[in-house]
């Protein structure tokens, strides 16, 4: 799962979508890059048709977010369709990002044990997954909140990215 997320993030980071979203505006503002050139890169990368060029900025953003959302949906749909008896991957990902590296594996394996026990006790998979989510959020919420108070939202995101990269 972590590998898949990393691949996805790598693909996004290397893609014109993120380039356009994060860097494109700045680059266009300072006049060193034609917006049309950026649009052409996006069209080539994602197979949009030429009508993309004539869309408003909002429509372009919407279309590109649609691609990202579809990619994420496909990623997490796999979760439900292929291995429902496994813990929710997205919840595991959240633990992987926010839990301290030192005990990350232990927390994940403890949660997995609880999940397996729930399933073995005859609990429905849906309910077991909900319980996993609740336990996962409860496990990282205090750390996330403390970090949020200490370093703010932007710092928290950067810290999560640093930990995520450091975990590889």
């Amino acid at each position: 799962m972590i590998e898949e997320i990393k691949n996805l993030l790598s693909a996004l980071a290397a893609s014109p979508v993120v380039f356009w979203l994060l860097g494109g505006i700045v680059i266009c503002v300072i006049g060193k890059y034609e917006r049309k050139t950026l649009d052409r890169k996006i069209i080539a990368a994602y197979g949009f048709d030429e009508s993309f060029m004539s869309l408003s900025d909002g429509e372009k953003l919407s279309k590109m977010f649609g691609v990202i959302v579809a990619m994420l949906r496909d990623l997490f749909a796999e979760d439900l369709e292929e291995a429902p008896e496994d813990p929710p991957r997205a919840a595991e990902f959240i633990i992987g990002v926010f839990a301290k590296k030192r005990y990350r594996k232990s927390i994940l394996s403890d949660l997995a044990e609880d999940f397996a026990l729930d399933i073995a006790s005859g609990m429905s998979i849906r309910r077991a997954r909900r319980r996993y989510w609740a336990a996962a959020v409860a496990s990282v919420a205090p750390q996330a909140y403390a970090a949020l108070k200490r370093i703010g939202v932007l710092g928290l995101l950067l810290e999560a990215a640093r930990r995520f990269i450091g975990a590889s």
């Binding site: 030192r102 232990s106 994940l108 496990s139 205090p142």
Partner: protein
């Protein structure tokens, strides 16, 4: 007299749970032991935050155990109380007992 680490209530409970579960004290068993004996439920995040503090102070130590299928092939992390941990826990419990001694708590709040 050497300085002895002071312990909070949750730190006391965690160390006692580790001793009770020895040699099978890991995240799940520690949480369940505390829940069974005190009725208090702590998330793994809270449990491991306490374990981290205790381990950093040298009051407990950890070792990796076996991987099991029930845990998705992941290893357990077992905890044991160290010598200085025993001293700190004993001193902490004695202090609580000294404060409690002579008080009639039965119906104290009635």
């Amino acid at each position: 007299m050497a300085r002895v680490d002071e312990l909070t209530l949750i730190e006391q409970a965690t160390m006692l749970a580790i001793m009770r579960q020895h040699p099978n004290a890991y995240g799940v068993s520690i949480r369940d032991e505390i829940k069974t004996r005190t009725g208090k439920y702590y998330s793994f995040g809270s449990i491991y935050a306490v374990l981290e503090r205790l381990e950093d102070r040298g009051l407990i130590k950890s070792r990796e155990g076996e991987a099991t299928a029930a845990r998705g092939g992941r290893r357990k992390l077992y905890f044991t109380v160290t010598g200085s941990g025993h001293l700190a826990l004993r001193a902490s419990l004695i202090a609580v007992e000294a404060m409690r001694e002579g008080l009639d708590l039965e119906g104290a709040w009635a």
